[in-house]
């Protein structure tokens, strides 16, 4: 029974996400649309599972929600800081820097979320991954202390992501 369920729904969260996206696209909740969304979720996640063989073993949805709220707050704060930099700091005084973030995350999904978070937060862009995936290259727009930015990323985002993707 469990094996049949796992064969049918290889990525339960993807199935759930696709169903929710389908219902949102309809702009109204009705039983028929919910059923059709779940059917779509099962068919699409089953059909694409060959290209995504390793399911993340565990995923803490509750911690992901608090993480998202924190990231949205950080985006708002960083936006105001970067807007201030754009409007007041002249090009000659701009101190851009490369920083190298040591990665403790091993799962590709977790690294993707971390890189996406860094890019979405204005002022930092994740640029590249090292060839064996042990460090992440991040470009900072303006900073006096690159080490502090690196520690901030490690302590604020990476430690939380380690708890989400156990």
């Amino acid at each position: 029974m469990k094996r049949a369920f796992l064969w049918l729904v290889p990525h339960p969260f993807v199935t759930l996400l696709l169903a929710v996206v389908w219902i949102l696209l309809q702009n109204e909740v009705s039983a028929g649309m919910v059923v059709f969304g779940i059917i779509l979720g099962i068919v699409i996640s089953r059909g694409t599972s060959i290209w995504w063989p390793n399911t993340p073993k565990s995923f803490r949805l509750d911690k992901m929600v608090t993480y998202s709220v924190m990231v949205i707050w950080d985006i708002l704060v960083a936006n105001i800081q970067v807007a201030w930099i754009v409007l007041t700091v002249p090009n000659a005084k701009l101190k851009p820097a490369w920083i190298v973030v040591p990665l403790e995350l091993r799962q590709p999904e977790a690294i993707t979320v971390l890189a996406g978070t860094i890019t979405l937060t204005p002022g930092t862009v994740s640029a590249d991954l090292s060839d064996e995936g042990h460090s992440l290259l991040v470009h900072v727009l303006h900073t006096d202390d690159p080490d502090a930015v690196r520690d901030d990323i490690v302590n604020r985002y990476q430690s939380r992501l380690k708890e989400i993707f156990v």
């Binding site: 996406g116 979405l120 640029a127 470009h139």
Partner: protein, 128 residues
């Protein structure tokens, strides 16, 4: 009636903030002088700029009584796809050498963009 007025003011407020961050992003894009710095400007437009404009659209749909939550989807898709394009532009900059050479990684040999196969490196050296 007063709820309508408050709603309209809220929509106008969101539009103002959204357009402010959009124009700051455009100013940044024009002002900065290196490709990597320029990349930072659109990330601002892509998050709070678009986010507030979409919030205004959503609020307006509530005010006129046609509830619409499509904007949440637009926001979700943007937040998922925007980092990918930024990452690709950054990779192109590194690959073409349009920016300062990044410091070498801690444990590994090199960055994956710079990691060209051995025979390609010989060809490049021979070509130059």
């Amino acid at each position: 009636m007063s709820a309508d007025i408050i709603g309209t003011y809220a929509v106008a407020f969101c539009l103002l903030i959204g357009s402010f961050f959009t124009i700051v992003g455009v100013i940044g894009l024009l002002k900065f002088n290196t490709p990597m710095s320029r990349l930072h400007a659109p990330t601002k437009v892509g998050t709070v700029g678009i986010g507030m404009l979409l919030a205004a659209s959503m609020l307006h749909s509530f005010v006129i009584g046609q509830t619409s939550i499509h904007e949440l989807l637009i926001m979700g898709f943007l937040f998922v796809t925007a980092p990918i394009s930024a990452n690709f532009i950054a990779k192109v900059n590194i690959h073409r050498g349009d920016c300062e050479t990044p410091p070498s990684p801690l444990q590994d040999d090199t960055w994956s963009t710079l990691n060209t196969p051995q025979e390609d490196r010989k060809n490049e050296a021979a070509g130059q």
